[in-house]
Subunit: 764 residues, 2 copies
């Protein structure tokens, strides 16, 4: 795999302009701050191939679904993340000719995403058709400190002339989604205003009536000197601009600083958003670009302090893991319980929606170990707030008595995925949400959460499962018919082992939690419910391969032609690009961890031999065509000591987008799977586990790495872990003494204490 | 169930104008001639709620599919039957006010579909807002004799005034499909011409480039006197008209006779269609309305001679069965191997496409027994002509070496259904096509067909099945995974008994046919293919309920909650309108005959006890929410002597549209299931069977009927069968002596001989 861009520990660097890579670069160099985000589109006009993308968290449009034959229970809409007002726009014109990298002669092009600082920088020389050449240098960021503010510094230096240059900072809300199902336009104009200092465009989504006010203000500088500008103003529907011509002297740098604020009715009343946006750009203008940048960088450095993973001896792996961490924090910062983590974050439109089971299964463990528990709690509260909708969702399908089915894809708690085999059947997602609560509690020790928020969600979910199982007279056991497991290369199967296992666990956990809380507040279960649940718990059917410890993915799995992924010719991979859906469905090949996903979640329930046997059975059949798959296999491979396999699969996940393995980075990045990459290191290589009864660490290190180190939070105590080929260092950075198991030995680490363990001799 | 319209032996009659029933009436009073068809829209302007529909056989548009997530192998388009040029239009205006039944005061309204003559008549009085009242009488038909010609006689009589009335016969090609997926317009204008005698509009479909020329000519009469008219002409895009005002005397009938011809490039070159349409309207004009009508009626009377079923003592049943026969012959006459039988015929747009497995499974047996073998042969040739496409279709899914998969829905042989669970999995359709060949041969004795056309189709289909089965190491048998049986309330099941049985039979039959023909022309099988096929034939797995003769619909069927349709509250029926798709899929309820469909097709392979046991097991679980279901159950119920059940289900099928059981007649009629109704009588009540080794008749009669009689064709010999409560009369109307089994007794009927069997004593 050729690297798309240059390798560097902290930066993504592009050293020449290649229009054929522009859409990939636009995704990879995206910036965001958890509230909004922006693809790395150019500020100035660009007539080449591009995917313009500016997204505002939580603002969506319910696009009419597209199905062949609508059936009862199908959702009526698919929520689309909205391409919103273009706020980066700064057009440059000389003698009536636009600066446009598609038509000008470009040299010395340099683009850099600095992940440590959270900035996007671009520098290039452009020669116009009339021979005039300028150098442009831009830097922009979405403030991690002020969540509704962004700023751009855009400098122009004439290289071979002195003369007039026209600057046009603008806002353009007339943008449409590429993935609109029926080519509809999703916005309508609310209002716009512009004077010679500032402008604002306020647009409203059709149907959902979200209003978003985008305001701009600017200053113009000759080197360090602020100039007084008297611009023209212009406007049209959804659009405002200031424009002015200024005489630029050869060799002197002139800089336009554009301050932007994006405020939506997700967080504020409709009356307040325009004044708020105007106030924020005024405040930003007053603070000045450098101060804004400094506070932004400082916010990033706080994040890195807890979340960074340092890998020595493998710069590509180092860049890869940091890119993943960086993108996750750009997408979600945990400040707002109305927000969640979309599969493409703010880097593209694809997949619509904001929330998948990815959040609980992959992202939550990342935030639990790298950020304050409050951040993870927001993710849980998000689902708590959607409980009523989950109950409605289940009721639409015919479930009763408060059974809750969380949606496969959602923005506001309503289901909006529209394939029955997913919407109605990929219900294991419901279990991931319950497991998220369990996982949160064992990481944070916040048992109070259970009484206040956890129990109603757990009980609703358990009620769903209790109804979804049915008694099979022929098997004399509870079965679950017609489900789709995590392996979406199977649909509508019976007794998916993962789903059955998870569902049983959910009922059991809900019962435990209810029982536990009964001491303080009485049970919420109805008469007979406990007995009914207990009967299910005791009698669930699990498909198993006779004479082995292998759990079968579903009924009939052994009827398939038994092949290995290595039987597939290389030119037919990935099979989802080469095989018909029919052939894929009938094949034995597994898109992503399914039984192994269950063994990963419930590792403590199984002995090592069972893990190994199942891994050896399923890994050869798994084609890993979901970005969410390899990480689980890395973790299990490391667990059973298969470090070669672990490292091979780690490579596959860590630079997925950076090297564009799947040829789809142009559409946006795989944000949620990035958390899986982080898990590959922390849970995989380092063998970190938070069990119900404590922390354990069982580190290994790939042969290719010199060392790696990172921190985790456990019950809000920071712990630093460093692993080399010969030793492990574990340091308690917190204020309390901690007990933990390291390589099987129980140790106690006092506050600030560091312990070194020799990996060869296993001596401390 | 209230009857929508009046009951009559030969007619459908509506005696008052009810705008709320207009769309249902438009469907039910539809007329057609196998080449084109027309809903019973009004000739004059109608501003009320209406579904305009004029359809030309074989002319379609490949509408872009609507799917949530497109996957490899999905068809790119869904062929839509096209709403084509409005040819019936005759506007009437008095003093600038349009005749419009939605705004005029209507009295003495009478509408009649005369099924014996094949005519649609309408008579009414209309009072205009200015107090002027006229009587209108219209009669129209689509000629069964000239397949590209239609004619309308439209009379106006002033009732309370003498004065000018404006007549505007026109053609309007600017029509759009209601079911367009993306609101696209499917036609573009080719050309139009109009002079004072005639007009033509030629329109072309986008993408498919079908051109359709529609021409009109008219004459105008005062009572029996032809008047000389000098009309104005007008035209605009897709539209031509003649218009003239004429002074009408009170009480005198003036008649506009409009002759129309519709010619498409399905059958003629693009250069010839306009002249051909013009020539045909000229010829029709010269022949005159009465002569055209007479030849049309004579063609219908020929059809009725062979196809009629007479039921005494139950006028509703009589009307119902004739309506079904009438609609079938309006839809398909067998003159053109490019045409087939769409599920809505020419009565609506819904379901698009023209050809489903309905054709072979339901319609073919009807045409085999009521029309010359040449007609049925056209249906077989249609599939023969699509063999290459069927091989391509299978190849797209990954099948090789000439395996053929016929499409679920098609116009030109290409698959255009777009739900994977149907498109890729409801593959039993492939078997229906093979069975159609077998059925044709046993009805007609035309074994020569096998060598020339049958074998390649059978071998292609057998190759598909041989690849679609896979060896299960765990079952030590061939299994078929991931199919959808006829019961579409299950999707993606393993080892659907019906599909496995049919597939095995297909392979066996293809082998037999190839072996049989080897004597004349050598085998087309490849090396080892016969052995491979034989190994499959000998080792197919069939799910069965242990200790019984019950064949299980699929693997895992007994894991379902075992309920009866009678457990469903009446207000939740039909379940497809009340339950979520999720709930339906997981329930035990069966949409349409599945295992029973197989027992019906292969009745000779099973003993009576097995038929009875399976019927008793499945019938209570079947909700008959497909129009194709009850007929199969009628036939089996009659076979096992359960006449009450047979009659109950017969009622459900025979007046399905006439009484609009499913509240959807407004969208069009259930044309293909009408053949099933016919089968209910002939194969069900009368127990007629064409076995491989001959004809058998085992009649029964419902208590509610006095008698019923009909004819069938067997090896091109007409046989008349009449059944009363006490006796059966069988008459050989042909020229050859025939052997047959009647009530289990072998008899020989000489040419023209009639035999009477006393039903009580079973004596002849």
């Amino acid at each position: 795999m050729r690297n798309l861009f240059d390798i560097d520990n902290w930066k993504i660097i592009e050293k020449s302009f290649d229009p054929t890579k522009q859409k990939q670069a636009e995704s990879i160099f995206s910036i965001g701050n958890g509230s909004f985000g922006q693809r790395a589109n150019f500020e100035e006009k660009y007539s080449g191939d591009t995917l313009q993308g500016s997204y505002v968290g939580g603002v969506y449009y319910p696009d009419k679904t597209r199905v062949g034959w609508w059936k009862n229970g199908y959702p009526e809409y698919f929520a689309k993340v909205l391409n919103a007002c273009n706020w980066i726009g700064i057009n440059i014109e000389i003698d009536g000719i636009a600066l446009d990298l598609s038509t000008c002669e470009v040299s010395s092009f340099y683009r850099e995403l600095d992940m440590f600082r959270g900035t996007l920088t671009r520098k290039f020389k452009a020669k116009f058709s009339n021979g005039k050449e300028i150098e442009v240098c831009s830097l922009r960021f979405c403030s991690m400190h002020r969540e509704e503010v962004a700023a751009i510094s855009y400098s122009v230096t004439p290289l071979n002339f002195s003369g007039n240059v026209k600057f046009t900072p603008y806002l353009d809300g007339k943008v449409s989604n590429h993935d609109s199902n029926y080519n509809e336009f999703f916005w309508e104009e609310d209002s716009r205003k512009v004077d010679n200092k500032k402008g604002v465009v306020c647009a409203k989504t059709k149907k959902t009536n979200f209003a978003v006010a985008t305001a701009m203000r600017y200053s113009f500088w000759r080197e360090g000197e602020l100039l007084d500008i008297h611009p023209n103003i212009a406007q049209q529907e959804f659009y405002v601009e200031n424009n002015f011509e200024h005489y630029l002297e050869k060799g002197v740098k002139f800089t336009l600083k554009k301050y932007v604020s994006i405020v939506s009715t997700l967080n504020h009343s409709e009356f307040s958003i325009i004044p708020r946006a105007i106030n924020q750009v005024r405040d930003a203008y007053i603070a000045g670009f450098d101060a804004l940048l400094a506070e932004h960088e400082s916010a990033w450095s706080e994040i890195w302090k807890n979340a960074d993973i340092q890998i020595e001896g493998d710069t590509a792996a180092q860049q890869g893991i940091r890119f993943n961490i960086f993108q996750l924090y750009q997408t979600y910062t945990g400040k707002n319980a109305k927000l969640n983590i979309g599969p493409k974050g703010f880097t593209g439109e694809k997949y619509g929606g904001a929330t998948y089971w990815d959040t609980e299964a992959y992202c939550l463990p990342f935030y639990l170990k790298t950020a304050s528990p409050e951040i993870s709690k927001q993710l849980l509260i998000y689902r708590y707030n959607h409980l009523e909708k989950a109950i409605e969702n289940a009721a639409k399908l015919g479930f009763i008595d408060g059974a809750a089915l969380y949606p496969m894809v959602t923005m506001n708690g309503e289901e909006c995925h529209n394939e029955w085999e997913i919407t109605f059947e990929e219900i294991h997602r419901n279990g991931a949400i319950a497991f998220g609560i369990y996982n949160y509690v064992r990481h944070t020790g916040d048992v109070a959460y259970l009484a206040q928020y956890g129990r109603p969600v757990l009980v609703g979910i358990a009620r769903f499962w209790a109804q979804r199982f049915n008694w099979s007279e022929s098997k004399k056991a509870y079965v679950m018919l017609g489900v789709t497991g995590p392996n979406e290369y199977e649909n509508n199967v019976n007794n998916n082992w993962y789903t059955n296992y998870l569902a049983k666990w959910c009922i059991q956990y809900a019962l435990e939690v209810d029982t536990q809380i009964r001491q303080e507040s009485k049970s919420v279960l109805t008469a007979g419910e406990e007995e009914k649940w207990q009967h299910i718990i005791d009698n669930v059917y699990f498909p198993k391969l006779e004479g082995t410890n292998i759990y079968l993915q579903q009924d009939g799995f052994m009827d398939k032609e038994q092949l290995s992924a290595s039987d597939i010719p290389e030119n037919q991979r990935p099979i989802n690009q080469h095989w018909s859906w029919d052939r894929i469905l009938r094949s034995i090949f597994i898109k992503q961890a399914d039984v192994l996903q269950g063994l990963y979640l419930f590792e403590d329930h199984f002995d090592s031999e069972t893990l190994r046997e199942n891994f050896d059975f399923y890994e050869p059949k798994t084609v890993h065509e979901s970005s969410l798959s390899p990480c689980v296999h890395v973790i299990l491979a490391a667990k059973i000591g298969n470090m070669d396999k672990a490292y091979e699969l780690y490579l596959r996940t860590s630079r997925l987008d950076l090297d564009d393995y799947n040829h789809e980075a142009d559409e946006g990045l795989h944000i949620t799977s990035m958390a899986g990459t982080w898990m590959s290191v922390v849970e995989g290589m380092a063998g970190v586990r938070i069990h119900e009864n404590g922390l354990s660490i069982d580190p290994k290190i790939p042969a290719a790495w010199k060392s790696y180190k990172f921190q985790i939070l456990y019950k809000n105590n920071p712990i630093a872990i460093a692993v080399t080929q010969s030793e492990i260092k574990i340091k308690n950075l917190g204020e309390f003494s901690l007990e933990m198991s390291v390589l099987g030995a129980e140790i106690t680490l006092n506050a600030t204490e560091e312990r070194t363990i020799n990996l060869t001799t296993l001596t401390v």
